[in-house]
Symmetry: D2
Subunit: 345 residues, 4 copies
């Protein structure tokens, strides 16, 4: 297998994680990194990893003749233009979620990808989680029969900073979008209806930003199954990421991961440690695996495991959820265009 | 404490359970039982328990001068008339759920109870379950802070017979009504909005009966919290009864009960036995405790732990859920009267 | 099935438990109770249960013409004479463990039982525990193949009073004797060698009484398997009763029982309640089941589930353990007679 | 922190693991590897990692002027001479367990290390396991009070090949030695007495090799606590590595690690996957952490976390266990010298 040369656009937390994971891949080489805030700190970081090119310009990577693929880890508003440019330059693309917060723009990006014939993988890392993968395997192998109800609990340990909230796209597009993808992944079916409830129960800052911090979302799938998602921006006991699929022959459920299995029994009761802190800990292996599979897909000419259509569908569900919450009614996925035109007027 | 003399109306499965539990209570004496189908078998049953009077006529109990209280365990359609008669006769009343399937009739019954100044307890036995009681204690003591999300999983091991389905009042009124009461119990707040989804995924017989077998219901509480209930008439692995309350300081969750704690580890994996089979096993102690507390309330002059208002509220939520499912939209609890009048036209 | 008439000798805690359990049995009637300390309190207790005869004299029961069987629940030193008298009087016998603290005397009692042709059941209640029974079933059905290692954890929540310790016969004869029986029960084999270590780690009062409070005992079974028992008179977190059988095809383990399944997750960690407090709570059902099966054995003419030989073997292991601890060496079960004669000299 | 240059002696499975872990350490550089069987395959392996020197001669590493420390991962019989040579050459040493199978030879090696003033860490990787570390923390912080009983379950998924068994040193020296170290680690005390039972229950090949495959070992610690270890060469359900420390204020226990948390509930029962397969999977992070801490100790001039004395003590316990098993009696640790001289005669 030839070594693939990778450029990473955006060297924030997630960009650095991808870089380190790629460095461990026998067939990938990180040859360049671009970041708007490239400076001495990033230079040291790149040097320690033997990354030859550090630049402020993403174009330097996109038009670099040696680069086979780019990882787009910059802010969400840059995703669509960068995807278009990269596609036109013939580079394969790994893009963090969401592709964009406007479905039309996401569709434009996907169109550019299709035209260019490059590959695009979207960063729904949770599909690669050891627990959720195992749940999916059981669903696919028929262990639990036909799925009837998909339940997803997805709660963060603590809210992001206000600055993040303001540009996040809101709970549905920023946080629940992972769960929408998980719902499609686990049910093996498309969402046709959404009902979203929510409120500000954690911190008034969310209200000030026009956002919510708590939500309960129900889904109806094309295959007749139902979905339930509950979200909170603050679980005092830490990152809470569980799923359950209930079907005609049984159920399969995945619990949280914990830093250790030690259980203490004293006069005060039985106790153990909280779950792994947050997504970096819980999904460390999943991040590595999604990057590895992207590289392998390029090397082997096989389809990427999460493609642009997966990105688009999750965005459509998120949009329907926003409308449902706003209107306090069920929203069908095929109403989205109409609702948007209504809004425009 | 003086011994209270009890009459049991309806000696089906649940009536017999109450009888046996009352026989164990030091201050209760079951002096009479009425059942439409009283015959040799019931006579033997009553004789073995030293129950002096067995009759086909509930009136024999209601007007029996020695009887202090009646347990109404006959079919749902008899509840309201029997409550009214018993109240007028000055008897205290324990009535199985639901009081009726029409809110106006339930209100009539409650009015009769109020006028007579007798006590009425409704058979929401799950409030007395050791697990759910402990969850409630943690919610009340503030362990988990302010409740944000109440989650209830409530699935039966297998569907009831068709004859039962036809007169059950439907999934919302027959099965989910327990969960509606649990939602009020755990949240400590009233439900203000309901959204109910559902379908026939288990057995077409439900469709033939105009019923559903699978449902996902979301609730909005007056205190701003949310609720999620999922129901199925058939969990292949047995009776699935779990709750979780998530709040500002954490969460408390109760799992199923199991017949034993044995865990087998072999080359095939790790395995253990299914949950306790069904409500008779899971809630055996809860049935005993609700009867005991009813007797104690009468003896001590304290309020009953689950009163007529609790019965009424659960029925109102069930009704809202039925409307929500029918209309595929959110229904507010205070819309019920209006929706009924619309229907009438 | 005819009703069996039962007399209970010794109305302490355990005698009362047996009485209440027998009262629930459809084919048993407790007609008489004897207790050295019979007085107004016991009279009230007996009256409330409809027990016609309360006496200070066990002979009144043993020679009562209507009584079919006696439950010997008096102090251990009375067991052998009472068994002999009851056997000679043709009464079936349920006797609490141990039969005696001297093997020769136990053998005398068994000989009397054999001669009289009556039945004798010994109170090893743990064999009837829902968890341990399930483990045994898996062992017997071959789920785990041939047993290699039997592990028993058996720890009390707190030490008994000093007065009890002084006459208890010591940790091996009083406490571990249950575990010796469990080891035989689970392994399906006889113990051939014992090595017992122990010390006073909990409370110096044990040393003052010539006893120990902590022990680790290993066993070798005739079938080649090994056993490990660990005992403590004080587990701060409550009654700890677990077993594990490891074999050629896997392992089966039973955990503790808990008062509820509620799990609390907060910033401080994950926590739940301690196990059921002590033997009365943990083995409540087992006590009922052993009495029921004794009655059923009498009624049906089938063998009792735990017989005199089981009582004797457990005492022999306990004696070997005492010697092993004293000599700090392995003791073979067939050395016991010799060691006792050595001691006599 | 300057980069430390490392040479690895023995590029078998464990040597390669250390190499890869060191490659991830920011302050370590693997500059040379020696292996008796160095050939094209190892050359490719070394080249892919940028390791400049591959040789058949360990002396090339030991006398290499640039090398700061060596990892001795060759067969056990080479450990002592290599430690001596490396110490004399002034290299720090990480040595796999056991140092040797003869205490006098281990003492010679330690003496050489002391004289040379170099550091020696022994590969008791389990001390670095996330679960056992957490147990140790609770013991040290006093959560469970004074330790009374240390229980260790340590079972392999399947026996090693016969060739390995023949030179392994036997179950006590090869397998249980890890548990002896764990017992010292968790109890915080030295072992003073050992009683070891064992047999061939898994595979007659062990008998043919003069070894056993199943053992139950009890320990007495200097601080009065007791220890219990059970070992098997074959747990059908996989690698079983659990510990429990019971003390005056409670207990802390660590369970196995699993590849995922998925639980399946069907009509057949509740099931989940087996534990992580074997030591490479279970202790992957522990291997990385022990290497990291060794490097950090060298870099920071702090003591190594597991030193030669730890290696020696575990070997002494293993030796006592061998004697105990052979003699079927308790062996005191200070009897070892005498027993060896007896044997010599």
């Amino acid at each position: 297998m030839a070594t693939l040369k990778i450029g990473i656009i955006g060297a924030g937390r997630i960009g650095k994680i991808h870089a380190d994971n790629l460095l461990r891949h026998p067939n990938a080489e990180v040859v360049a990194v671009s970041d708007l805030f490239a400076g001495p700190e990033l230079e040291a970081w790149a040097a320690a990893r033997g990354i030859g090119l550090l630049t402020k310009e993403s174009a330097d990577l996109i038009h670099h003749p040696d680069i086979d693929a780019v990882f787009i880890c910059s802010s969400t508003d840059t995703h669509v233009p960068l995807i278009k440019q990269a596609a036109q330059a013939g580079k394969h693309i790994f893009c963090e979620k969401p592709i964009s917060m406007e479905i039309e723009r996401t569709e434009e990006a996907l169109e550019a990808v299709r035209k260019a014939g490059v590959k695009l993988q979207v960063g729904f890392n949770r599909r690669f989680d050891h627990n959720f993968k195992r749940v999916k395997e059981h669903v696919e192998s028929g262990t639990i029969g036909v799925p009837h109800i998909v339940k997803i609990t997805s709660r963060d340990p603590s809210p992001p900073p206000e600055a993040y909230i303001r540009t996040s796209g809101g709970l549905f597009m920023d946080m629940a979008i992972h769960d929408f993808d998980m719902a499609r992944f686990l049910s093996g079916s498309e969402v046709v209806e959404v009902f979203a409830q929510g409120g500000v129960l954690v911190d008034p800052v969310f209200a000030e930003c026009g956002d919510i911090d708590t939500a309960v979302i129900t889904l109806k799938f094309a295959n007749g199954a139902f979905g339930v998602i509950d979200n909170s921006r603050k679980a005092a006991y830490g990152y809470d990421q569980r799923v359950e699929v209930f079907g005609s022959k049984g159920a399969v459920a995945a619990a949280n991961d914990f830093p250790n299995s030690a259980v203490v029994s004293t006069e005060a009761g039985i106790s153990s440690d909280k779950p792994l802190h947050f997504f970096l800990e819980r999904y460390a292996q999943a991040y590595e695996d999604e990057a590895r599979q992207f590289i392998d897909s390029l090397a082997n000419g096989t389809p990427v495991p999460v493609d642009g259509e997966d990105g688009l569908q999750a965005e459509r569900i998120a949009l329907a959820a926003k409308w449902s919450f706003r209107l306090n009614r069920v929203v069908k996925l095929d109403e989205i265009a109409e609702l948007r035109s209504l809004q425009a007027n």
